[in-house]
Symmetry: C2
């Protein structure tokens, strides 16, 4: 270990961070200054990675859970040689067009493994990364060759540890015995409000011990100790490790270090000058973005070493490929992004025998979804996931075993009653590469996991969310369990695609659509109650549905009304259509499986489904808002109040949500 | 302690629960059967309450955090004499019109202290109850008389303890030394998926020890032990207590107890018959809703004792009132629901000198909000709250001290970086009675607290949520910190009122409106950036704004266009209006501080603001959805994608969100 070089890396991190934040007049110097030594040893000595090939599948992952300290990461990525973050990017920290954004954004720089900033989630996603590593290792490693064998490292602060999501993820990580997860806790005793003692006096070490973690302690500022702690963490293979590092926020800023002030504001020119002098940064021009030549020299040598290490892995991988052609084929499929080995022309259209249903079958869409999942999981061996302790109610069990410390082959994850961590972990599994992740809970509890869903969308991760019990038709469990505003508020998140299939056939197709999607999360909104499989007038509906809507019941080119309905309400619409047709009216019924997908289509597609000038009536067991684009408020049958406890049919009656009520609107 | 009577209470709880769930064909027998002994001793011996006066302010509170076990609570409330839950309600468990709803709903039965069912939140609200007790005790108790002196008891299951929100609340409760909080943990080792070992192997006792709690252990089924444990919990005055009770889910059901199956499905007639025999419930008609006469006799005597205890308290209270007329006056104000001592005619209109601002002042609405909070908190001494570690960024500090174990007088609560627990605790403080609660975070992190906000709304609790940094104008922090979909998704929750004031003057009025509201939560959506105080054409705007909107700039009765804008976009609209008026167009500008409030007004109010037939243009820095009721999609200036990191003005330009863009829409 070249301690002098590491000191120069730390020095450079501090210099770059101070200058970038000062120039941007915005940012968080506290963390990069306080943790520069850890950053230096991680990127200089610990991480097995190759900046020349950031996508190397067997690289170690590093996740900066305390994302506000983004300048730490940008400095290290730049210094170590990730060439998609330039010094110019750093000089334009927090400016439009710079890859050095306010918080680390997945996709902007290839060395950023996950978007972070919303606290607690980086650490929780890391649990997903560590799970993915074990799943791939057990599948692909052989007695002779270990081609999957890497660590997941995390840097977390007080905020990450206070957030409930990290408690959920930490408890599960302990249960799952994720020995290759190493979390560094930057224990600087300062938050935005002041001393952590204002709100955070718990014994963190004892808490993580209670979760079943190995807990280690040391100083942030002793390289030998840091190296020893990492090695100790690596040697513990049956437990994740928490390494508590005593530190000083803003270390190096002579008057501001160890104060809340240094957390999130530029130091100011005067303090920077004093800090440079104290740290031994050569006197130079103000804001010269100093980088120590010794650090550059060190990394130049390192880069050659990293390249060698990666090439050694590649040699091993090639040998393994020759020895195990079947596994290699599977590896390629897993890493192709394609949902399943394809036999057709379109690699993104899975060659899966979806389950077949018969018209007239009465089956809840959650149950139909289970049949689809069973078929898909048999073809897509990289699909993994589970539910927040609702395996049977969500109907997401499939032919596999439960993932556990002694059974890494298991593809079903018992997440426990931890919706938020579940979704964050699913993000981590998906981000790791090689696997497709799904997770499940009751739709009403999507509120619990919403912040992670937002990150799925922001990071374009195709995590599949199975949300069952999707309306007032939940019935007896009452208003705490009946979603009302949820379809609208899930659709509200940019890039989230909500699919609410209307019967079993649509549900199978919805699962396929979810798998086909590669640029963002999909919600499958599924019913608790049975729904009758209905005939579909559009003979090409399996294609048309991919525009977001299709015509279930046509009623000629000039219907008296067009009912747009979603999910279980399509059945209601068909019933209402029958009621009014007795009076001679012609009513078209449209199943709009995805409003946002339909709205993104060109006008011509809209007109092919909804004749221009037609009277449109919308029907969905959720709030009105959002449907007003398509119908007048009085032509929308919606539920704009909290639900009530009672049998589903009675609840619908009490809320005026019936075929009769819909027919009355049409006849009005 | 009359153990025989307690056994008969437990027996009756089991009999009622089995029958009610069986008759409803729906419900959760596992918990009521598994915890009947704890329920019996709590309602029979421990709780200091009086069913004849459920609103007795100094009663002990009991919160069933595991709300799915609602039949436990309904049985006990009925048996002990809460007369608003009848045997008929229980016989109609989970039917419309019955007060025995699927999950306990606050407001349906007066003995229900909080709505529960969404796991983890009952326990977290209880922390709020316990905080409220200490706050009122320190303010009102005197050396001679303790008129506030009660406990908060909670029954929680595995689910509650796995949810992150309870970790947040537990850690904070430890920090705050809430000695009169006693949580019973029903440790039955079974969840819906099967054994808790699937996902939950942590050492719960060690975890709560790490939080600074006293942890006790015992059996659920030994009354003497239960009594001893409660007494031990009560004697520890400096720490909350967790009492871990080993139990058997569904105890008494001969073949189904200790299985996941008994958690959430009726036992079936055969199992009930066998259970009755095993438990010694007299043979009787199927579904006879058996209540033991011994239990009834016991409670008849108890009711007299409880009445005496409450009368003794009343005598003490009366004496205190005579001794402390000033405190008594304050007590009455605190418990009146009125926001402040009123000098006017309307007791709900606070007599507060709101801060005054001048036209042309440039001030962020968060800063204006701080001035309003300062004025209001000086008049409303029962207003308490704080932020999730963003006291200064949220601008919610006011003239008080920090609440802590040694300073119960403090009205500012440092919640730590725990948004969800913060909101749940605010619900608890509000539900307790006597106090008004507010909480604060960045708007984008309202996602973290959303499940608690939904409960505020469902329970009609007027918690005030201060959500600052309310748009892309957050700037540099980037997409993780810029709300896009949040205004829409907050408005989506029934009974939530979102107020987005457009300048400092409106902000002060918005605070007053929030205080005036008593039937649900209010969101104050406030800007990070400075906004110029603008002149208002409506001379009566301070009243008109209470309809949800008013005319800022009139432009005559027949304007060429009406711009509806909210918050900081009203300034943008005024600028755009100036731009197009150079070309001779007349543009009205409406500030719509609350869309949902405005939409709830009669047509005549709508027409007084928006002339029928007028071309309407909407402008808000958030998603389009929901505005389509008022304008064509192409006439809405919105932000329908995630934000970007950069200085606020540059971000707005990059997203096409400028006065020029708005003017172009008007001119189109």
């Amino acid at each position: 270990m070249n301690i002098t070089a590491l000191e120069h890396i730390a020095l450079s991190v501090r210099a770059l961070s101070m200058d970038a934040i000062q120039k941007a007049k915005s940012g968080h110097p506290g963390l990069p200054l306080g943790t520069a030594e850890l950053g230096a040893i991680l990127y200089g000595e610990i991480l097995r990675h190759d900046p020349a090939d950031p996508a190397w599948p067997d690289r170690d992952r590093f996740i900066l859970s305390a994302g506000h300290g983004s300048m730490l990461l940008y400095s290290l990525l730049h210094l170590s040689g990730y060439d998609d973050i330039s010094l110019d990017d750093i000089k334009n920290f927090r400016q439009i067009g710079s890859r050095a954004a306010g918080h680390p954004e997945y996709g902007l720089v290839r060395g950023i493994e996950a978007t972070s900033g919303p606290l607690g989630q980086g650490l929780s996603m890391a649990v997903g990364f560590a799970i993915a590593e074990t799943m791939l290792a057990v599948r692909f490693n052989t007695a002779r060759r270990r081609i999957v064998d890497h660590y997941t490292y995390v840097l977390a602060g007080d905020g990450c540890l206070m957030e409930g999501v990290s408690s959920e993820a930490g408890s599960l990580a302990g249960r799952l015995g994720l020995g290759k997860l190493v979390v560094f806790y930057d224990s600087n005793h300062i938050t935005i409000d002041g001393s952590t003692s204002l709100a955070f006096t718990e014994d963190v070490a004892a808490r993580y011990g209670a979760y079943g973690w190995q807990v280690l302690r040391g100083s942030m500022y002793n390289f030998e100790e840091l190296a020893r702690l990492v090695s100790q963490a690596q040697r513990e293979t049956a437990k994740p490790s928490l390494v508590i590092l005593e530190s000083t926020i803003g270390k190096g800023a002579p008057t501001k270090q160890n104060t809340a002030e240094v957390h999130g504001a530029p130091l100011g020119a005067e303090e920077i000058t004093a800090a440079r002098a104290a740290l031994g940064i050569p006197a130079g021009a103000e804001g010269d973005f100093y980088i120590s030549p010794k650090a550059m020299e060190f990394f130049a040598v390192k880069r050659a070493e990293w390249k060698k290490a990666r090439q050694a892995w590649q040699t091993e991988f090639d040998a393994w490929s020759r020895e195990e052609p079947g596994l290699r084929k599977q590896w390629d499929h897993f890493h192709s992004g394609a949902p399943a080995p394809s036999t057709g022309d379109d690699p993104h259209r899975p060659a899966i025998s979806l389950p077949v249903f018969k018209e007239g079958d009465k089956i809840a869409t959650r149950t139909a979804g289970n049949k689809a999942l069973e078929a898909i999981s048999a073809a897509c061996l990289n699909l993994v996931g589970g539910s927040a302790d609702l395996k049977s109610p969500n109907a997401v069990g499939f032919s596999t075993t439960a993932y556990s410390p002694t059974n890494r082959e298991g593809r079903y994850i018992h997440f426990g009653i931890r919706e938020f961590a579940m979704a964050a972990i699913a993000n981590g599994i998906q981000l790791h590469g090689g696997l497709r992740a799904f997770c499940a809970t009751f739709m009403v509890f999507s509120d619990y996991l919403r912040p992670a869903l937002r990150l799925s969308a922001l990071m374009d991760q195709p995590v599949i969310y199975v949300l069952t019990h999707d309306s007032i038709f939940v019935g007896e469990d009452g208003p705490t369990h009946q979603p009302i505003e949820h379809l609208a508020s899930l659709r509200a998140i940019p890039r989230v695609r909500v699919l609410r299939p209307a019967d079993a056939e649509e549900t199978a197709e919805a699962w396929a659509m979810a798998l086909e999607r590669h640029d963002g999360p999909t919600i499958l909104a599924l019913s608790r109650q049975n729904i009758t499989v209905f005939p579909k007038d559009d003979p090409d509906w399996r294609n048309t549905i991919r525009t977001g809507a299709y015509i279930v019941k046509n009623a000629g080119a000039s219907p008296n009304a067009v009912i747009i309905a979603t999910g279980s309400e399509v059945g209601l619409a068909l019933e209402a259509a029958r009621l009014v047709e007795a009076g001679g009216k012609k009513v078209r019924v449209v199943s709009m499986i995805s409003r946002e997908l339909f709205e993104s289509q060109p006008e011509a597609v809209h007109q092919s489904i909804i004749p221009p000038g037609a009277r449109v009536i919308c029907c969905e067991a959720g709030i009105k808002s959002g449907w007003e684009r398509w119908a007048r408020p009085e032509d929308i049958l919606s539920v704009d109040r909290f639900g009530i406890s009672g049998p589903a049919g009675k609840v619908a009656e009490a809320l005026g949500f019936t075929a009769g009520a819909l027919a009355a609107i049409i006849n009005r």
